[in-house]
Assembly symmetry: C2
Homo-oligomer: 204 residues x 2
Amino acid sequence: MRISELSRRSGIPTPTIKYYLREGLLPPGRATAATQAEYDEGHLRRLRLVRALIGVRGLSVSATRDVLGAVAARAGELHQVLGLVLGARPVGDEAAPEDPPEGEVEALIGELGWNVSEHAPARAVLGETLETLRSLGAELDHASLLGYAELAERTAVLDLDQLDPRADPLEQAERALLLTVLLEPALLALRRLAQENESARRNT
Amino acid sequence: MRISELSRRSGIPTPTIKYYLREGLLPPGRATAATQAEYDEGHLRRLRLVRALIGVRGLSVSATRDVLGAVAARAGELHQVLGLVLGARPVGDEAAPEDPPEGEVEALIGELGWNVSEHAPARAVLGETLETLRSLGAELDHASLLGYAELAERTAVLDLDQLDPRADPLEQAERALLLTVLLEPALLALRRLAQENESARRNT
């Protein structure tokens, strides 16, 4: 397809696609004339992933290039690909702590037997949130925390069930990213509705 | 206790407490001299709730006053109190839709048999997120959505188990607010860690 068709099908303006080409986020098309190139479905998939990494995950162009390079190098290892697209730090998130994770979070992950990277940003987020709750006098007891973790395990099974391991790695990476990051507000909304319902149930 | 002690125990500066007194967010203390008043544990609890509504939920002073008035009028009805503190709209959230909720969300709530307010802001959030996923070609099938809703029900049971229905209503409202809003990043972090673990499990 021509670049105009690529733009139409991806919903991304042609000048933006040209910018991504110059920045190396998208491989060049097959030249058909001095000023024309032909693009394929692979370009479209990659463009969608670029849009998701920049627009949804909030990555910079250079961080996106790094992630795409790493994804390409590990195509076929879905686990690694997921870690790459989900773990990369968004633009302006320089303050992410380099310290070793909190003892409490370490202990929890050990207790659950979870196999997760030492550098997963979610470890720090979890530690900081538990600390904030404690400082406000609303500490979570250990049994409750384990209960939430067990529900997170079941959620992750549902999440992973929605990825097709036979699909193209770029396609999988994009879908994983969308279903993880974009689904978050929906899951929180479901929790609030369920709280209201459960509260009504207990009061009748 | 004196206002200085109230400030020390709440962590809120004295000028801020005086401002809340002037704005009617905090009832006056018991006057002990022309320029001195005595405050009690009730003031401390109310101050904590004010801080949570303004600082955590992002409400304006006038919205906070409305919520506090409504909470006081319904003390003892935990269900109503929860709806009030969780449902109030944050500052600058004028664009919240007044339209009737999405048909898909309506149908889901009906199918689940959930008892939730027609005006719950979470309904609109859920509808918009499902729409965004659809527009990006990552539509969630109905069975998955039901699966997530069922996990939200279990989460809500854990959430409500952490509130003591015998506690003071203001104290309950504050704890409900903290555990609901502040716990969100921790639950999302647990989900990401669980995804990484589940992905590793499936690839070995």
